[in-house]
Subunit: 209 residues, 2 copies
Amino acid sequence: MADKQRRKPGETREKLMNAALALVGKGRHFASLGIREVTRQAGVVPTSFYRHFRNMDDLGLQLVDELGLVLRKMMREARANVLQADKLIDESVGIFIAHARNNRSFFMFMAQGLAGESRAVQEGIRSEMRYFASELANDLRRLKLADHLSDADLDMTCDLVVRSVAFSLTDILVISPEDEYQEEQVRKRTARFLQLIFVGAANWKSHPD
Amino acid sequence: MADKQRRKPGETREKLMNAALALVGKGRHFASLGIREVTRQAGVVPTSFYRHFRNMDDLGLQLVDELGLVLRKMMREARANVLQADKLIDESVGIFIAHARNNRSFFMFMAQGLAGESRAVQEGIRSEMRYFASELANDLRRLKLADHLSDADLDMTCDLVVRSVAFSLTDILVISPEDEYQEEQVRKRTARFLQLIFVGAANWKSHPD
DNA sequence: CACATTAGTGAACACTTGTACACATCAGTA
DNA sequence: TACTGATGTGTACAAGTGTTCACTAATGTG
């Protein structure tokens, strides 16, 4: 019988999650993946799937958790690299796009999941986005960049920022990963969106007409 | 044999498209639908499918075309009802949400398709959004509401507006259709997003800091 | 070391899937 | 009226599906 030693605990589990991501990265939609297909891609017998997941939705949920880690890592990097306020937007967008490029499948999964089949996955991703927006609000508060805004207005602004960046995912993910020119276009456009939003925030309620 | 008379030309075609939409409306993802499933829902024998579509992607493309009609109808209604500039945002968002409610399945299909499996459907929906944004820019130009903006900046603003509204789809479509309170919340939040964007546009390049 | 638990395997099941084929019935046209 | 093409139906089949079962090797704990 083919060697059965599980070298590390949770190795197969990881193989299955990576297999699902790989298929998503190849253009498949997560909702259309089947258990057999994923196990085949992972090089594992179909039965093994059930040792780690109850069904595909369950696997999706666990992918959302890992997605959370990726996002937090991205946030940490942004906090470490964005030192001057005037470069804040360009730097952040740059970091975001770099991560989207390096974790293409993950971000594809995220974009798919927002309107996906599983309500739980949907809610998980929305929750990640809310968390991200609230952390962004905290940062801006800490940097004293939005003192004139009420908490609610700052939250709204950050919500809109996160949504706009998230929507840019659909821009990045349709262009080929090597097409640096198009990537640069998306980068510029996303940055201008954020500038527009921040100009709005800066003048919010002060010159609302 | 069951009666075979096709009462109207293209009746089965319509039945199949409606069946796919109905399944999407029930929470299924378009990418996970199969030919047999759709024909079953339509009350039609599987073979009939091939008389009208080459495969599910083809059906999706034709749905995008119909989606275009829905969007244009919405745009017409907005143009007819939005008479005063100061009510522009609230009225438009209201009309959008009303249409999203009345064509729930269609808009679900749209939200799904943005990160869907078929590149062609994806491009079709993005194209509809671009058209929508450019029409919005024309309207604003005509109403002299954005004279201080360059064409490029106005286009960017409208692009961001359309994206923000489109993203609100994911908010509307997760709440139950009867939950009027939550719907009102989404309505308010979307309107505030747009206000923020327009404040940004109004101050764009005039007081950018 | 003995033993319970975990994580792997292969065979089998009942069912669904996409697609092909031959055939039937309608609508329109020459 | 006879023909033609479009649209509908039923049957068939090979391939793929999710899931269960009994079995086995490795791991960690007493």
